[in-house]
């Protein structure tokens, strides 16, 4: 195997493929990336068997071939090499990279590429394409609510649903839920949707942000696999993932429609209040107390660490109410909403509350909604 490639192209491909290489793998070969040179291109693949990233970049191939090298080490060295053409060749059981017109070289031990896990070709039965920016926004607006609990694996990802009118992304850990929608025809995706693991979406999201083409999502329902493919300039990036098995809980059923109390507040004010007060909150529950009064709310917390209270103006006309929240959940929700104001639609201090942006999102075709379950305050009835 021998080829000539631009340092920037190789560094990009290695860096992205590394994103799917597990840092502590039981199989030594899984800490490697696979380099495959074919006519005019080099494909670099990293996998942890659940999520696989394959990047194809242009190059001049003198001799085609396949080789596996240690992902982290190779990345570290290639990253530092000077810009310009590199000559990559496999000789004498080592992978050699020459740079700077013969100024320098590095050699890397190689592993037998034949043992590298075979990445199956996806036999897609449905496909849909989404703008890269749309995809990364939808992921960012939901992924933080996904669970990391092993006992409910179907919640360890984001539910992606399609249809004639909209695409819907939903994530929940059973304590909070976030939902993002985009109007448009996404009929390539099933209405009951697929569950994309959190880790796959973290990788996809990064690529979606830099994508110069729409991201194509292909699903092989029968094999429970999906692939996200996009162009980043001249590079073609594909992320393959196993999908999570459902059924996903019926989330529509838990979104309250007629919560009677409405509280509007400036998002940045509330974030500041919660952030300061939560410094005193219990490390496990992260509990902060909201005291709703006409025209204002108080956010407070008291533990053996200390106590604090923060008053802020709010539009609230309902009766006085005390309600507890996990500050961590609240901050993640508030951070995900882009509008200046947010509205809390509440029922009782024990029932699910809805948090939504006030006014339209910057993208008129998009909507979002979050749900949060309160923390029962020690002095609450019930």
């Amino acid at each position: 195997m021998q080829l000539t490639i631009q340092q920037a192209d190789l560094a990009f491909a290695v860096g992205r493929a590394l994103g799917s290489v597990s840092s502590k793998s039981p199989l030594p070969l899984l800490s490697c990336i696979l380099l495959e040179a074919e006519a005019g291109s080099l494909r670099i693949t990293g996998t942890d068997l659940d999520v696989t990233t394959a990047v194809t970049v242009p190059c001049t191939v003198a001799t085609p071939g396949r080789v596996a090298v240690s992902a982290r080490h190779f990345n570290e060295v290639v990253r530092k090499m000077p810009r310009g053409p590199l000559v990559l060749s496999v000789t004498g059981g080592q992978c050699e990279v020459r740079y700077g017109d013969g100024k320098g070289w590095s050699k890397f031990p190689i592993q037998d590429a034949a043992d590298f896990p075979r990445i199956p070709d996806l036999k897609a039965d449905t496909r849909v394409s989404l703008g890269g920016d749309v995809l990364s926004r939808m992921v960012a607006r939901t992924i933080f609510s996904a669970s990391s609990e092993e006992t409910r694996p179907m919640l360890n990802g984001v539910l992606v649903q399609g249809g004639d009118k909209q695409a819907v992304f939903v994530a929940t850990d059973g304590h909070r839920l976030s939902k993002a929608t985009r109007k448009g025809a996404f009929s390539g995706l099933a209405k009951d949707g697929v569950i994309v693991p959190t880790r796959a979406f973290q990788t996809v999201s990064r690529i979606a942000e830099e994508a110069t083409s729409p991201v194509e999502l292909q699903v092989a329902g029968a094999r429970n696999q999906a692939a996200f493919t996009a162009q980043v300039g001249e590079y073609r990036v594909q992320v393959l993932t196993r999908l999570l098995e459902g059924p996903y809980p019926n989330y529509e059923q838990v979104i309250p429609r007629g919560n009677p109390r409405e509280m509007r507040v400036r998002r940045s004010d509330l974030m500041e209040a919660v952030d300061i007060v939560a410094s005193h909150a219990d490390n496990v529950t992260r509990q902060v107390r909201f005291s709703l009064r006409p025209g204002r709310i108080g956010v407070s917390s008291a533990t053996e660490l200390g106590a604090g209270e923060h008053q802020l103006d709010a539009q609230y006309a309902g009766e006085a109410m005390e309600i507890g929240y996990n500050a961590g959940y609240l901050m993640e929700i508030l951070r995900s909403i882009p509008t200046e104001e947010v509205v809390f639609r509440l029922n009782t201090s024990l029932a699910a509350g809805v948090i939504e942006p006030v006014g339209a999102l910057p993208e008129a075709e998009e909507e979002m909604l979050c749900l949060i379950m309160p923390l029962r305050l020690p002095d609450a009835a019930g």
Binding site: V254, V284, P374
Partner: protein, 412 residues
């Protein structure tokens, strides 16, 4: 100075004190005499026959067929235990219950400086226990918890042994390493394999060898062999947090029916969850205990990513562990416990599994069982083959429930 007051054959002695016809006779306290199970306590009269706590009841019957077999009444013992703590509190505020029948009592300066002064107080406590409750206690007196605990076992029953570090070494250095507090059978085997047979050998073991063989506890073991210990006494009124909560049951007969065994796990998980809720704890590590007919005991545990007091989640883990660990041999005993306890968070609401109605339901079910007893409501899945456990396994009542029934009720 610290005392360790250990009640002699506590449960059996309580029964003898309350039932004059049992006095002077071998008494064996157990779960339910009509069933299988283990000896909970044996009176001193039963011990010459070789009967020991923890022994299977069948074996006890063979060894001592004429003993009186009495069903244990945990609420009575807990109530008495609390009365004993009250008694100690009249001498000093530093009382740390160590188990239902043992307590550490701290006698701090300036009142008490010497071993003799402490021993004199110990003697008064011993007499008061005898005159007020008709019970025997063995007391160890020492400069720290370790020496006090070990001294209490030197002379029994109704013994009083006061040892300073010097005296401790004289008494314990010739003894086998197992006699040291904290050295179990497995550790003892390893120590012997390294050539440390007695406590004295351990005291003179090179520290690097101990550190190499036992890690950080190596130097601690060596310090213990010298009678040195700086574990603080944690007074009762400051509260002693439990490390784990669990329930176990010896099955009516050895069983290899998966449905019945999993049903039993469900029942145990339910009891553990109930106790966690009752006492305001949540835990994150679930441990399964499995004992086969050959008395081989196996434990397996798995941590949850967060804390729970939900019986369904505890059961899910216990069952998953059981399915991995169980080799389809007949099972004698099953246990489920939850550790890694934390005070229950103020109650994070659940969107799906435990909605508000579900939570209210669980609380209502708890209240029914508080009033009508554990058997009034049980998970249907635990009733497989109609071989439900007819009685509440020992210890299934929560301490809170017991305290309510005790004359000292509401004593928090």
């Amino acid at each position: 100075m610290i005392l360790l007051i250990d009640m002699d054959a506590f449960f059996a002695s309580v029964e003898q004190a309350h039932h004059p016809h049992l006095r002077g006779r071998p008494v064996i306290v157990c779960g339910d005499p009509g069933r299988r199970g283990v000896v909970t306590a044996a009176s001193y009269e039963a011990r010459p026959f070789g009967v020991r706590a923890g022994m299977p009841l069948q074996q006890a019957r063979r060894l001592c067929p004429d003993a009186e077999y009495v069903e244990g009444r945990p609420e009575k013992y807990v109530a008495l235990s609390l009365q004993l703590l009250e008694l100690y509190l009249r001498y000093t505020p530093d009382v740390e219950p160590f188990s239902v029948d043992e307590a550490f009592v701290g006698l701090p300066p300036p009142g008490v400086r010497t071993l003799e002064q402490a021993a004199a107080i110990a003697c008064r406590i011993q007499e008061e226990i005898a005159s007020r409750f008709g019970l025997g206690a063995s007391i160890g007196v020492g400069p720290n918890k370790l020496v006090a605990k070990l001294a209490s076992g030197v002379r029994k029953p109704r013994g009083l042994t006061a040892l300073d570090e010097e005296g401790f070494r004289g008494e314990f250095w010739p003894r086998d390493v197992e006699h040291l507090w904290g050295v179990g059978p497995k550790l003892a085997v390893r120590m012997r394999s390294l050539g440390f047979k007695t406590v004295g050998d351990l005291a003179h073991a090179p520290e690097p060898v101990l550190r190499g063989a036992f890690g950080v506890i190596g130097p601690q073991l060596r310090a213990a062999a010298w009678g040195r210990d700086d574990t603080p006494l944690i007074p009762y009124h400051q509260g002693v947090d439990p490390k784990s909560m669990g329930h176990e049951v010896t099955l009516p007969e050895d069983c290899d029916d998966p449905e019945f065994l999993e049903g039993t796990l469900l029942r145990l998980s339910d009891q553990v969850a109930r106790r966690l809720r009752g006492e305001g704890w949540v835990g994150r590590t679930v441990t399964l205990k499995l004992r086969d007919r050959a008395f081989e005991t196996l434990t397996r545990q798995r941590a949850l990513p967060d804390f729970t007091d939900d019986h369904a989640r505890i059961f899910e883990i216990a069952r998953a562990l059981f399915r991995i660990a169980w080799k389809r041999d007949p099972v004698r005993l099953l246990g489920v416990s939850v550790s890694g306890l934390e005070r229950s968070p103020a109650g994070q609401g659940e969107l799906f599994t435990r909605d508000e109605r579900g939570r209210l339901l669980v609380r209502a079910l708890d209240r029914v069982r508080d009033r009508l007893g554990e058997a009034s409501l049980v998970p249907a899945g635990s009733l497989t083959h109609r071989r439900a456990l007819g009685h509440v396994p020992f210890g299934a009542l929560s301490a809170r429930a017991l305290e309510r029934k005790s004359p000292l009720g509401g004593g928090h």
